[in-house]
Amino acid sequence: MSDGERSVTPAPAPADDGRVPSDPPVVEATGIVKRFGPTVALNGARITIRPGETHALVGRNGAGKSTLVSVLTGLQAPDEGTVTFVGAPAPRLSDRDAWRQRVACVYQKSTIIPTLTVAENLFLNRHDHGRGRLISWQATRRRAQELLSTWSVNVDPQTLAGELSVEQRQFVEIARALSFGARFIILDEPTAQLDAAAINRLFDRIRDLQRQGVTFLFISHHLQEIYEICDMVTVFRDARHIVTAPVAELGRADLVAAMTGEAAADRREERATTLDSGATAALSVRALGGDGYDDVSFQVGAGEIVGLAGAAGSGRTEVAETVVGLRAATAGDVEIAGSRPRPGSVPAALAAGAGFVPQDRHHQGFVPDMSIADNATLSIPKRLGPKGFLNRSRRDRLAEGLIDNLAIKTPGPELPVSALSGGNQQKVVMARALADDPRLLVLINPTAGVDVRSKEFLLDKVEETAETGTGVLIASDELDDLRMCDRVLVMFQGRVTSEIARGWHDHDLVAAMEGVDLHA
């Protein structure tokens, strides 16, 4: 089978009967510390992966998973600690070939070149050379065909890589990793872009390869997948190693508890509701369907704070973006404070009384080189002067009011937003959302990448706003954002699956977001 492949692709190792506990681990990392400036991404973290197992790595956002992956693949050197492969110390960072022979990672982001064929992608920069040192396309193609059939990847090597489906692309990347001789493969959220059938095929492939002696580190946000495919699980939380255990011995409740930790009692839970049930609902969404979500219905009353929780890809962001007009729904309707804005139009939603903080402030939140004053008043040109003319002093007055209101740390309104810290930038975005005294405030991941004090401040501001009778919708997966909500709607795979009243425990909410039933 592998006779034409030279030493790069040795025949698959015998099946997992070679799995003896005394074998040195495929990879072992101990005492890993990695700092980025003041943040500690990994704090004495460790992981041990034995040959032939499929090992899950789980943790909430910011737990240090991605940093560990970049340490294990040799993209970054740890500040402290050691990494060993099969008992031998890791190669130097500059020795890319040595790393590639030990470990490979299939990222969510593609590392293939879409304009080249599959065969060329597999053997890029190590083509077969024939006479006169010219590339022999025939040999390269044949070798690609052999490699693909060795690992039963059903793809024509002459297809352009850009024409592959996500699933085929992952298989090709796995085959490429194996062709370097690596028998340890990291899959970084491989199921995120796949549908259920493709996920099953991927899992079949993983089991096949596992039988042939390939070891996997599997990273996923979907806990049920871990129970389906993995043997061992390691949990990281707050840059530390929490637990490593066989999957079969760690119940779902314990796993979720390990991920969330002991949540400190939070004062926000005591917030008195400010819901004014007599007034017109700030938002009502009926049978909304669109790209990534379906049949979503809920109401946000005046003065009520409603959370919209869910893991990445659950559809929460899409629903929130539809409400404010960044997307158009294909079915159902959105009513803001009693009027129905034209679907898919942000100006119409703003005119109906919405204010919003978009998902990614760098992408949609502000214009970095424009001043705080311009950014904060970007959505209210009508209040800046008559007939489209801009009255600078009125703008600066308005902006100064907003700066005071949100305690933005700046020498003055004329400073460009790019000069501010992350927390203060987010305050500017919030100021813009509040500039027109909205009836409905929609926040998408409002505290992402914001320091703790600004986070507290922003959330206090949200409560204050709700007290004035504004309805608030918070779409987020950060538990801290959701704690003050009167109720939390949980979305899973595009649908609202449960509604949780205030006073929830962290693990209940996390389990609902991950689609796990703790009481099953």
Partner: protein, 347 residues
Amino acid sequence: MPETVLADTAAAKGAEPEPRRTALLGGRIPLARLRDLALVPAIVVIAIVGQIVNPVFLQADNLINVLQTMSEIALLVLAQTMVLIVKKMDLSLESTMGLAPGVAAWLVVPVGAGHGLGLLPGAWAIPVTLAVGALVGVINALLIIRFGLNGFIVTLGMLIVLRGVLTGISGGQTFFQLPPSMLYLGTAQWFGMPASIWICLVLFAVAIVVLGWTSFGRSLYAIGGNVDAAKAAGIRTDRVLWIVIVTGSVLAALAGLMLSGRLASVASAQGNGYIFTVFAAAVIGGISLNGGKGTMFGAFSGILLLFMIQNVLTLAGVPAQWIGALNGLIILVALTISRITGGKVQE
């Protein structure tokens, strides 16, 4: 041609799941390779039309004339194609084509004849020309790669600077009385054909082989297609970009040398406006402005097609005043045709 580069739409629409081999002649020629030949039917049609319009068209003298007039600009197309494949642009090629032989003439042409300084003997002309080309390439590469400036604007600035320098040293006049070494490439005959045609054809043949059959050539496509993936595959991307940009400028200098030799002079506007034809030829020939796509053979057929059409128009007696307007129109029509035959949106 590397069969790997361009997908024919027919191949793209083929049956998806099972391994397929869309090919002709018992699998010897993959259909994808035929995309490179997309312009060949157009060239044949123009040849037939030309022959009907004027029987002179297919005579050897006329064909040699077409090839010779396009040989200099074809080298610019070759250079630009390499640069476009790595997803960069070099607008300054056209003024490098004027400045490089201009500086050589300035240093070599004796005092009294125009603005010549007569500082160097005539034999220095060729080395000086190529050195100026290399220097321009090094400056471009330094600004674009080392300092990370936008390539389009850098070379636009360079285009204007170089044009201005040539006007400055020549006082806006034309250099005459060039030394024999500068005239040689534009006037010599090798094996019954002008040397410039040989140079052009040989360089294209070399480029076809390098781009299709060497690791270096394939790294150009990798860089243009996905520079991060190219880095991950162990390609030294910056080094490849340096080589491409500097080689492009040296080729432009060589093209300038050939043109000066053929015209026995260096006008201060030499090369002016060529870059538009160069881009048009490359895009008609299937080179993507977004990098990573297209072949040298396609680029060559692009420039050949443009010059054949111009020649047919001249033979048909179209007044010279209208040639410019028709040239632009031809480019638009050719692009439309290649969009129809290529089937894909041009980027």
